[in-house]
């Protein structure tokens, strides 16, 4: 008799193993049919083991994607952004601009490990986190259920770190060819604490003022960083460009990009890396990641088309620089929307962003005459703003029921109020970046100075700031 029961339970156990999830329901009723208490205990043990294995398997799948995504986002800064910006400057400033990106890869990592992560994602204050995770205390392989229940918190921490690295690096596009290296390091350090960390907490952190799913007062949709990354860096970039003034010789002297080949490679790396940025922001390897992946790609493609078409109409030629700038503008604009919109709206968002950023960079900049050298504001500030706004229009509950099952998300679902929430988020991010940056600029100017001397600027930052040259033609 005992043997028969053992056999039965073994077979049941095997069948449960073969079809894990649907089999959970019949398995619950097995104790009633099994006559021996021993056998039912055995079965329960097996089920518990099975549960554990399912969790482990999901965690392994999600973690594999999230670690890949983290690496992809790091690749966006170096070499992606470094090459993109590096090719756009004049030859004498190539290494300096690349070094500004690379320095963020090192320095922001250290700050993030010490207190940055904790201030952004620890605690549940409305403005900023706390020091509960300072020095990464309590950050281990166990997941942090507030943010991502299936991946180790270490993965979440390092993934978010990559965003903190690229955001300040974006600003260097506006200050290119005239900013001191010491000033850059000090400015970025202050900016990281005063602007980035609070904004990241407010939008993504638990209890943050603008958080859409974890108890924010003004639920602003920002899937992967339209406000936190692009509006914040773009607006700060504009403030820096205005504060610093124009480059010597601008706009009379020609300052064409020294190697669009480098920029081209950089832009393509940015495009690929952005899959980690946006699809990774699903924080899991499920359907939402696929949705964000497709939206990202479509946004970039449509914006490349939009910018090129506008340029073709205006100048009679579609330039390579135009096409790659358009793609980046589209990637920026789709960033807040990626996890909320379906593929067709993604094309629309991309198209609008491509044309809009083209006009910002070619017309608006010329109208006001500020020297945003590599168009950090024209692409990231403008693209981030239009993207954040359009997210409120096109977000759909069928893609991401962030306000609860079946509840409308954006205007496409009939919830026009979300456009208002997006506006609040946008205005808040603008104001926050604006004020923060002005204060930081003053401090930086007093301590290290911000701009190199005119002599050094003419000689080039590679030699004067770093003591080396990008292209040593005699060797």
């Amino acid at each position: 008799m005992k043997r028969v029961v053992l056999c039965c339970s073994l077979m049941l156990g095997l069948s449960v193993m073969a079809v894990p999830l649907p089999a959970q329901a019949p398995a619950a009723s097995t104790p009633a049919t099994a006559s021996s208490p021993d056998a039912s205990k055995d079965l329960n043990d097996k089920l518990a083991q099975l549960d554990q294995r399912v969790t482990t398997a999901q965690s392994a799948g999600d973690n594999a994607w999230m670690l890949t995504s983290a690496a992809l986002v790091l690749m966006m800064t170096g070499p992606g952004l470094a090459l993109f910006y590096g090719g756009l400057v004049r030859r004498k400033n190539t290494l300096a601009i690349m070094m500004q990106s690379f320095a963020m890869m090192g320095w922001i990592t250290i700050l993030w490990a010490l207190v940055g992560y904790s201030l952004a994602f620890g605690g549940n204050g409305p403005i900023i986190g706390d020091l509960s995770h300072a020095f990464l205390r309590g950050v281990g392989v166990a997941p942090n259920p507030d943010y991502s229940a299936t991946i180790p918190q270490l993965t979440f921490m390092v993934y978010q770190l990559m965003f903190a690295v690229i955001t300040p690096a974006l600003i260097t596009g506006a200050t290119a060819e005239r900013m001191k290296f010491s000033g850059t390091v000090l400015f970025m350090t202050l900016w990281f604490f005063v602007v980035y960390v609070p904004l990241a907490h407010m939008v993504w952190g638990k209890g943050g003022l603008l958080n859409a799913s974890l108890g924010g007062k003004f639920p602003c949709l920002d899937f992967a960083g339209g406000t936190v990354v692009h509006i914040s860096s773009g607006v700060s970039a504009l403030v820096c460009a205005l504060y610093m003034g124009k480059r010597v010789g601008f706009p009379k002297q020609p300052m064409p990009p020294h190697s669009l080949v480098l920029s081209f490679i950089g832009a393509c790396l940015l495009w690929v890396g952005w899959f980690g940025f946006n699809a990774g922001s699903a924080l899991a390897a499920g359907g939402l990641a696929s949705s964000a992946f497709v939206a990202t790609h479509f946004g970039a493609a449509a914006a490349a088309f939009g910018w090129s078409a506008a340029e073709w109409l205006k100048n009679g030629k579609a330039s390579a620089l135009g096409a790659i700038s358009g793609a980046v503008a589209g990637l920026v604009a789709i960033t807040p929307a990626a996890g909320f919109v379906r593929p067709m709206p993604a094309l629309v968002i991309g198209l609008i962003a491509g044309v809009f950023c083209y006009l910002m960079v070619t017309k608006v900049k010329a109208l006001f005459g500020y020297d945003d050298a590599l168009d950090a504001f024209g692409v990231h500030g403008a693209g981030g703003t239009i993207g954040a706004l359009l997210t409120g229009v096109f977000a759909q509950t069928i893609v991401n029921p962030i306000f609860g099952d079946g509840k409308p998300v954006g205007a496409r679902d009939g919830h026009w109020g979300q456009v208002g929430n997006q506006l609040i988020g946008i205005l808040f991010a603008w104001g926050f970046a604006l004020l923060g940056t002005i204060v930081i600029l003053k401090i930086t100017d007093l301590v290290t100075g911000f701009r190199v001397s005119e002599e050094h600027e003419v000689e080039g930052l590679d030699i004067t700031q770093h003591g080396e040259e990008a292209y040593y033609l005699e060797s």
Binding site: P251, K317, L321, K365
Partner: protein
């Protein structure tokens, strides 16, 4: 001996070089240069900023010729470098006093 300097379109350089070799020219010095004559440059547009590029890439050929070859070479260049458009370049001729081969100190036309 005459020194010939010719500024030509980069696109014609290979044909000119081959034709010169056929008429027996053994040496020449070639430099990539930039400049303009009556041909005005072109404009380039980077993110809406227009730059007028008025110095265009050209090729400069320099060679010192024995007197008897001068006319042949000039004719050859005229024939092969011409596209008929503004910007085809110019040929300059000047008299050379002396030529010395560094290896064996030969002088005059035999040093060419």
């Amino acid at each position: 001996m005459m020194k010939l300097e010719a500024i030509i379109q980069p696109s014609r350089f290979e044909s000119v070089k081959d034709a010169l070799r056929e008429v027996g020219i053994e040496g020449m010095t070639v430099t990539e240069v930039r400049g303009h004559g009556r041909q005005k440059g072109h404009t380039e547009v980077y993110r809406g900023r227009e730059y007028t590029v008025d110095l265009l890439p050209k090729i400069k050929l320099e060679m010192v010729l024995p007197d008897k070859l001068v006319n042949t070479v000039v004719d050859t260049i005229l024939k092969t470098a011409k596209t008929g458009k503004i910007g085809d370049g110019k040929i300059f001729l000047s008299r050379v006093e002396e030529a010395i081969r560094i290896r064996n100190e030969e002088r005059g036309e035999s040093a060419l």
